[in-house]
Symmetry: C2
Subunit: 193 residues, 2 copies
């Protein structure tokens, strides 16, 4: 059951009954995405939220200099959301790209609104999820200010070993906000110690 992971994810955030969680899950549909394919591209309006049950995605933006800047990776048990575009229904700045053959549980914007109406308790779930995410983003910004590239790289390896081992160094560099050449130099210096 690919819904098992979603149910556990919800249960970790709120104390809902099995029936309520089943009802929430019934609003989601499975979608498979092949390696390299996009679930969202820059300029389109994000009409869904996703929860990854298999595979891995990168959520990135292409800046004015043409660099691919990675906001985050979403492997199993991660949410795949462009909060800004989904909330305001404005064109997205982001790309969601599968880095492996993947499977995602999708809820459409209109269905999510029906869900909020039908089960107001769900507001609490997404309130808590958003607050946790907010706290995590604030900590990440602080790390970006306080740590060197090497320290951020080591933090990433320690914190997300399961993701780090599956993706290329180019992707990691894009996440850390450095060039892949510099990441390579960091690694070779580390080995000499």
């Amino acid at each position: 059951m690919s819904y098992q992971l979603l149910k556990e994810n919800i249960r970790r955030n709120v104390n809902f009954s099995d029936m309520q969680i089943d009802e929430i899950c019934s609003f989601f549909n499975t979608k498979t995405v092949k390696k390299g394919e996009y679930l969202l591209t820059q300029g389109s309006i994000c009409k869904f939220e996703g929860f990854v049950t298999k595979g891995c995605f990168r959520i990135f933006i292409i800046d004015t200099k043409g660099n691919e800047n990675i906001l985050y990776f979403a492997a199993e048990d991660w949410w795949l959301i462009d909060t800004d575009s989904f909330m305001n229904q404005t064109p997205s700045d982001l790309y969601f790209q599968a880095l492996e053959d993947s499977e995602v549980l999708i809820i459409q914007k209109a269905d999510k609104e029906r869900l909020y109406d039908q089960l107001p308790l769900v507001e609490k779930l997404f309130r808590i999820m958003s607050q946790k995410a907010l706290a995590a983003w604030q900590k990440r910004l602080i790390r970006n200010h306080c740590l060197t590239a090497k320290e951020r790289y080591q933090y990433f390896l320690n914190t997300y070993p399961n993701i780090a081992s599956r993706i290329t160094d180019r992707q990691i560099a894009g996440y850390l906000g450095i060039t892949h050449e510099f990441l390579s130099k960091i690694k070779s210096k580390s080995l000499k110690n």
Copy 2:
């Protein structure tokens, strides 16, 4: 009425009745804070959330190298929250310091929980507020990766002229994640153009 600003702030986020908004506001109490004083210090548990009605605060962290890193400024109409410490009731990493004589509307943790119980609609308010904040933090991280210090400085001046004009350059440098010496050099170079 210092509650007027809070009411408008809530109304901008959700479409509640006047009575509901009044009820929410009744959970908040006014607190004055003198310039230089702290509302929260590193190591203590954040037991309140605040909404600034007068003055200006800086929310900062002191890192292992002793640098003061500013997460954000909260002037009138801004919320003063340590999401992580408030949510988990764990010791805070942050300091809330008044940069001017200030006035804040405060809601205590226990009262906020009563408010959620009494008026479940409030979940929606804070769900939306958190999602907006989340989107803003993601964009800020992208700016930190994609823009140079000079570009971030100009963005700050353009986006928050009301705050920029009230605080010292040292504070701005702490927000941008650069040294105040370098900010000074950026400014002198800009003038030569």
